[in-house]
Amino acid sequence: MTSSNRAIEDLVKEALNEPMRPAQIAALDARLERGRSVRVPFLQGRALRLSLSLVAAVAVALPLAVVAGIVPGSDEVPPPADLEAGMAGLFSEDACVSPPEAEEQINSLLADLGYAEWKVAHGTGAATTECVGAGLDSQTRTITLFMVLTPQVNEGLAAVREQLYRECRTRDEAVALVDAVLRDAGMEGYRVETGSLSVPSDRADEIERHVEKGCWVYSTTGWTADGTRMFWVAGT
């Protein structure tokens, strides 16, 4: 029987039922065993550790896979507190730090604090974008710059997000509202597409109900491997 003739239920069942590979089972067993033996939460996860070490600009935009991909091997070591604090002072959500500024300030900070072995790296598109944030990886002693949106765009998107939570709009209307903010800010070369729903945790139920009624909302942003900015709307 060809797949085109199979019911979608069968396809979904087969896809979601695909068993774990033996190597995955072994890895999961090992993680649990390790955690139980040391009696600490056995898994913080590389991604989580990275996100925790990110400085203030993380709230603006962080496609974690990109950062994880360019900062390999991030593991248990927390970043030095003085470096983390110093980095937090360089970035904020309401200011745009350009890549050259960021690099200069970070290098100056590293020199002042005596972290000569640390280096600065550029994530996808971070060398040419208008504003950047930064993430610390203690294991590789790397500070990675990544693209963030300008404060103006963040502010505009926050307003659109709230508007779409209040009002019930179609997908096309939601896309148009997001697009207007981006065009007003002079952005080019981005894409607005349908994606998964991402909502503030404290309003999840309310917004899920809103979406279930057929209302579309602005979800989130990220970027592609070639640096194209992506903005996602979500709905049913």
């Binding site: 797949s3 085109s4 199979r6 979608i8 239920e9 396809l11 979904v12 087969e14 896809a15 979601l16 039922n17 695909e18 068993p19 774990m20 190597a23 995955q24 089972i25 999961l28 993680r31 649990l32 955690g35 139980r36 939460p41 056995f42 898994l43 996860g45 590389r46 991604a47 989580l48 996100s51 925790l52 935009a61 962080l62 496609p63 974690l64 896979a65 990109v66 991909g69 349908t194 994606g195 998964s196 729903l197 991402s198 503030p200 945790s201 999840a204 139920d205 899920e208 979406v211 989130t220 942003t221 990220g222 970027w223 592609t224 491997a225 992506m230 996602w232 979500a234 709905g235 049913t236």
Partner: protein
């Protein structure tokens, strides 16, 4: 039927409970029982998380978080709310949601898709089917959260509509409708693909 020690240490037989209920109750004081519980349900928890977050490595990490939280919370386990697996999936769902909140904005997901590597054997038919399954999982992961959760629990973890409803806070009928809508949506988007 399994003999189940109650909280008060009595032995009772509960035909309405699934076999892992007894394990869960024993696991409140017996680490080996928790290990059995883990082995019984790790696959379902992983499959749910894989369907939800579309990345095998992340699903593994969240599965580990789920069982660690379950281990810490097993003392409070009660035989209600859809069974042990539903309880575990509730924990898994919260763990996944916590993870998403911490790293919002989300990962540009298609990038993760392109990075995904198939470890399937080489024969062409197997490879084609494997790719098909992967694509279906990505489409499921693109559904609205509540639809994605319902499908992942139904077809990935094998919960009934009633059990799913207990996890996601809907009644059985609403959950069944949710699943039907999700399948309908997938049918639409796969029309030209499969």
């Amino acid at each position: 039927m399994e003999a189940i020690p109650s909280r008060a240490g009595e032995i009772s037989a509960r035909p309405d409970l699934d076999p892992s209920e007894g394990l869960a109750l024993r696991a409140r004081t017996d680490a080996d029982a928790f290990g059995e519980l883990y082995r019984m349900h790790r696959e379902a928890v992983f499959r749910y998380l894989r369907a939800r977050c579309r990345d095998d490595d992340l699903a593994m990490e969240l599965a580990a978080v789920t069982f660690e939280k379950a281990l810490r919370g097993i003392h409070g386990y009660r035989t209600k709310g859809g069974g042990v697996l539903a309880w575990l999936l509730r924990i898994a769902r919260n763990a996944a949601a916590d993870h998403e909140r911490r790293q919002r904005p989300m990962v540009p997901q298609w990038r993760m898709n392109t990075d995904e590597v198939s470890h399937e054997p080489s024969p062409e038919d197997v490879a084609v089917r494997s790719d098909e399954r992967r694509r279906i999982r990505l489409l499921v992961a693109d559904l609205p959260e509540v639809q994605r959760d319902a499908l992942a629990m139904r077809f990935g973890a094998g919960l009934t509509a009633r059990q799913i409803g207990l996890v996601i806070g809907k009644n059985e009928e609403a959950t069944q409708k949710l699943i039907s809508r999700a399948l309908g949506r997938l049918r639409e988007v796969t029309h030209d693909q499969f």
